[in-house]
Amino acid sequence: MATLDLHAVSKTYRSDGRDILAVDNLTLNTQDGEIIGLLGSSGCGKTTTLRAVAGFVKITSGKICLNGNDIHHLPPAHRDVAMAFEGYALYPPLRICENIGFSLLRKKISNSEINQSVREIASLLDIEDILDKYPVSTSAGQQQRTSLARALVRRAPITLLDEPMSQLDTQLRARVRMRVKEYLAHYRLSAVFVTHDQNEAITLADRIAVMEKGELQQFASATELKKHPDNLFVASFIGEPPMNIMPATVQFGNDGVHITLLNENTPVGELHLSKSDVRHLRDNRVHVGIRPHQVVLSNDAPLRGQVISNQWLGDQSHMLIDINGLCIVVVSARRFRDLHKGENIGVDFPSDAVIFFSVDDGRRYSENPTINRGG
């Protein structure tokens, strides 16, 4: 149980005589018992951030506080954090049960209590049957769960997990995720985990910090990230498949607003929106975003497209639609859409599904008191 706060944390590495800014002025305030996901692609600074909290990376500037106390100057062992490493870092000469129980030996608790805790966490992670084996004779997935168990068994105020389930297959991962979530909630533990898998972030985290190039892009719930992405990066990163984003020009008229979608610089189609739909819009060139499952395919639609591919995934169909050279991904969450390659189809972007981003800084146009939104 703990709150973790990062205040303006930066980390600069020196490499080949150049300074590389791995984490850039990161501020994150978490709540007690919250599960936080650090999400981003490789090199975004998420792992450096996690290792800075654990104490394996010395921060260049800023503060890291656990329950209001500065911890960034403390060695890892004095920080009261538990960590599972991406590379597992198991002790080869110890059996799986000894690996998991190792950190408990320092605590003054009886062997039978240690055994009980080890068994509980092992059964939670489906590794009870390998407790007497040595790491070398177990699979990568089992080693990863051992490393996860070793961190969770400590019930530290804050648990740090680096790509904790990357070696598990989809179904096992879903099961382990739910159980870890219940375990953390049951013991009211806070956790921060790093992942490049947004599904993992969406299902496991209460709030997600999306990072890119060392900078925090947005810190919000999954629903909020999808509904109101702050900028183009978040919009194109979150969602599977991610949002379609295309350049467009805007003409403000008396009868509403005409949006001309562009492929490179060539107009490919026009949308007509009412002024109330675009009341925050203030530029003539924008980026238009729409999530794949919100695109409507119907015959009387303002845009025409051609089906390039149609992949059926069982409970949804993913289609690639070419609108005069502009390719967009369309998803039907219903069962199979019987559309064939080469078929012509009407495409509509419902006004409540369209999001506009600034061409200059990539930020989403939103409520802003300094902007005249009388239109």
């Binding site: 692609s41 490789s42 090199g43 699979s139 997935g141 070696q167 598990l168 297959d169 989809t170 179904q171 096992l172 879903a174 739910m178 490049h196 947004q198 599904n199 969406i202 299902t203 999954a222 629903t223 194109s236 990163f237 969602g239 599977e240 498949p241 991610p242 794949p292 499952h293 919100q294 390039i308 591919s309 992949q311 059926w312 995934l313 069982g314 409970d315 949804q316 993913h318 690639l320 991904v329 998803v331 969450a333 219903r334 069962r335 199979f336």
Partner: protein, 368 residues
């Protein structure tokens, strides 16, 4: 551009059997996704095909020619891996060129081949860069280019999209089938992602307990799983399996999964009071806040809601205490909350029956 035959292949590690004689043909220009749980032997199969591991017995043939005793470099097979396995001391160009170097091709040929392949994969602008200087996506494309550059007869792909972000994964998922068609490769694609297998494959081969338990086009395998295990494996979340029993009411035959009478008259010819497992996919169960007017529905309470992409997953509990997994389109999620009373319904034709003993699919009447 060749036909790959895996013929009664066996393999054991010490006394532990991995394959007890597996057979699979991959036709010219066909992509077969090999899918199974981790530890099912998918990667072992690729290692044997590529020559990194010896087979126990059986044969592997490319266009009728046995390659089982051939050295890896003589097999005419290209490979790409989930961890990319690029040579860190070589730039992207040399990485891609490496399969051609061993073949003593003239330098001009090598240059042309590498550049053409790199262009197709949109990495022609990073050829002079080293692996550590390029993005993950570019590394993935470099590794794919290296596998394709020699236009091998057979392409083996070991979960190549596993370590790339969603944007790139979907881009590649939609691009790759066109790429394979262009190279006319016969592809074995190993993945741990059932959706990826569904999306990319001409056929899916389900590997379980050392056997291919079902091989067929994605739609067939998904709609008609031969065993309950195939149903569980292919589908995310997994298929619901409810114990049920047949009963006769008048002229009609019913089964009663979750105490919901399902009329199977005509579809099945089964003895009464016999036990089965009724399989219903989560997306085939519909949910509503009010009972449906023209069909009976089951009263239930929402236990948990897991947000996911495109579809959300619900665990609901019926008034008689049975749990089921239901999925619904993401945009319909907001009308529901945990602990809420709801009504669920599934159409009769979406119920498949399996034997409770061996979990095999029960055959329907041929007329249906």
């Amino acid at each position: 551009m060749a036909r790959l035959e895996i013929d009664n292949l066996t393999k054991a590690f010490g006394s532990v059997p991995v394959f007890n004689g597996i057979t699979l043909n991959v036709e010219r220009s066909e992509t077969v996704a090999v899918y199974g749980r981790s530890g099912c032997g998918k990667s072992t199969l690729l290692s044997i095909l590529s020559g990194a591991l010896p087979a126990g017995g059986g044969d592997i043939r490319i266009d009728g020619r046995s390659i089982i005793d051939a050295q890896p470099e003589e097999r005419d097979i290209g490979m790409a891996f989930q961890n990319f396995a690029l040579y860190p001391h070589m730039n992207a160009f040399d990485n891609i060129a490496s399969p051609l170097r061993g073949r003593k091709k003239p330098p001009q040929d090598i240059n042309e081949r590498v550049e053409a392949t790199a262009k197709l994969l949109k990495i022609d602008n990073v050829l002079s860069h080293f692996p550590q200087e390029i993005s993950n996506g570019q590394r993935q494309r470099t590794s794919l280019a290296r596998a394709l550059v020699a236009e091998p007869a057979v392409l083996l792909l070991d979960d190549p999209l596993r370590n790339v972000d969603a944007k790139l994964r979907y881009e590649m998922r939609l691009e790759m089938p066109n790429l394979f068609r262009r190279f006319q490769s016969s592809v074995i694609y190993v993945t741990q992602d059932s959706r990826e297998a569904m999306a990319l494959a001409d056929r899916i081969a389900i590997l379980h307990n050392g056997q291919f338990i079902q091989v067929g086009p994605p739609q067939d395998v998904y709609e008609f799983p031969r065993t309950a295990e195939v149903g569980r494996l292919l589908g995310d979340p997994a298929i619901n399996l409810f114990p049920c029993e047949t009963m006769v009411r008048g002229d009609s035959l019913f089964v009663n999964p979750v105490n919901f009478p399902v009329n199977i008259t005509g579809r099945y010819q089964l003895p009464s009071t016999s036990k089965y497992l009724a399989g219903v996919r989560p997306e085939d169960i519909s949910m509503s806040v009010a009972p449906s007017a023209n069909s009976h529905s089951i009263e239930a309470t929402i236990e948990s809601i897991t947000l996911s992409n495109i579809r959300s997953v619900f665990v609901v509990k019926t008034t008689t205490g049975e749990k089921m997994t239901v999925s619904c389109p993401e945009e319909e999620t907001q009308q529901y909350a945990t602990k809420q009373r709801i009504y669920v319904y599934f159409p009769e034709e979406k119920v498949s029956l399996f034997s409770p003993d061996n979990e095999r699919l029960i055959k329907q009447n041929p007329s249906n």
